[in-house]
Amino acid sequence: MMECRDVWYRYPSGVEALRGVNLRVEDGEVKILLGRNGAGKTTLMLTLNGLLKPQRGEVVIDGRRVEYDRRSLRWLRRRVGYVFQNPDDQIVAPTVFQDVAFGLKNLGFDDGEIKRRVGEILRELELQGYEGRLCSTLSGGEKRRVALAGVLVMEPRYLLLDEPSAGLDGVGFKSLVSLIQRLKARGKTLLISTHDLELAMAVGDSFAVMNGGRIVHEGEINAEIAEKYGLRFGCFRG
């Protein structure tokens, strides 16, 4: 289980992005985090991955309170994988193979195991044969899959997907939905930040809405809630 207890975070610029967030994601569920731009969704995800340390409150993963020393963060990031909103932000290596293998190499896996796991994940995400491709020459959809592969290959138990449907076409959207369903079937726990209600309805088990750095609603989403918190709600219209 992944949990935030009264988490507060203020950026050095003075913007208070999280103001007492309480959120619980049960094992095996797909939780959707909805909210307008600037509601605090990304900050919350960065906090759950240990990339930001809250000034108040605590993050609890598998019943263990997150500490911020090097060893604990390593433990945390092995369990909680974070996929950035913009794949260019996440891709750190020049070729597809190097980027997907990045996490495994840093976890100390041997080269044979890295090769095997990278091959498997590239096949799963329909990227076989892309190993030597330069990331800068990939399309937006391909980059998104490489970014996903780089996290999935580490086999985290919890996955944080930040706006995974941004910029996807119809085909990309369908394969994203199918991938999320496959991950759920494998017992992964997912927290997905989005303002795409179509994706939310297609894959979500439970929903939370953020506004102004707070969780303002948990439970079912309807047209009224969507309108109240400024969500795009095309799927609720006739």
Binding site: L46, N49, L51, L73, R74, R77, R78, G81, Y82, F84, D88, D89, Q90, I91, V92, A93, P94, T95, F97, Q98, A101, F102, G103, L104, K105, N106, L107, I114, E131, G132, R133, L134, C135, S136, T137, G150, V151, M154
Partner: protein, 226 residues
């Protein structure tokens, strides 16, 4: 196609006779022999081998690349011919063009990550490889940002006059500088998120035609030593 993409794609799309780390070693070894040797026969042999390989890899790209050194080499050789005689000018020109052709072969057939992967196996310190890879990736991303900024400025007549060019260049430099700072911060977060502890994986292709590379290298070496 964007300029940097074209440059980066050359080694990816080029037809390669020799593949894998051995291609890098073969090119570097030949380059050293060509530069060190003072025999015209070695230079001629090196030029013949590597020009053929470059033409096979992608003759259009090779001719395109060749234009740049030739623009310097032809006038320099002409001056040298007047000053020191035709024999010296021909010798210098042959040596320069053969060494450049070997280098072009390396550039045209080995993507930069593969070059560093091969160098790492030659015991180049890991931190140098790591820094080079990160800088290379940062350049890729910043170049893309620059192309976008340039297009956005161009669409709003940012390059319509000399004054506008100057003003736009100032804005673009400023924006790119800020973006590069932001990029460094994000890159750091992205690496932290995947348990970074100073390890950068390398990528190299399966070796192919190792015997041919060895034979050609031996030919050059023989030409130098005999």
């Amino acid at each position: 196609m964007l300029r940097h993409e074209r440059f980066e794609l050359e080694p990816v799309v080029a037809r390669r006779v020799v593949e894998g780390d051995v291609n890098v070693y073969f090119s570097l070894f030949s380059l050293i022999v060509t530069v060190i040797s003072s025999k015209w026969a070695v230079h001629a042999l090196s030029l013949a081998i590597f020009a053929s390989l470059c033409i096979y890899a992608n003759w259009q790209a090779f001719l395109h690349l060749l234009k740049v050194p030739l623009a310097f080499l032809v006038p320099s050789a002409a001056v040298l011919c007047l000053v020191s005689g035709a024999a010296v000018a021909a010798g210098v020109a042959l040596r320069a063009i053969s060494a450049t052709t070997v280098l072009f072969y390396l550039v045209m057939t080995s993507p930069l990550p593969e070059v560093f992967s091969a160098l790492k196996k030659l015991r180049l310190p890991g931190f140098i490889v790591e820094i080079c890879m990160l800088v290379y990736r940062a350049i890729q991303v910043l170049y893309e940002e620059l192309e976008r900024l340039e297009a956005a400025a161009d669409a709003r007549l940012g390059f319509s006059s000399r004054k506008a060019v100057l003003r736009t260049a100032t804005f673009l430099s400023y924006s790119l500088f800020l973006k590069s700072l932001r990029r460094a911060d994000i890159m750091n977060k992205a690496m932290e998120a995947r348990c970074y502890r100073g390890e950068m994986p390398t990528f190299s292709r399966k070796p192919r035609n190792v015997h041919l590379a060895a034979l050609l290298s031996a030919l050059l070496l023989a030409g130098w030593l005999v």
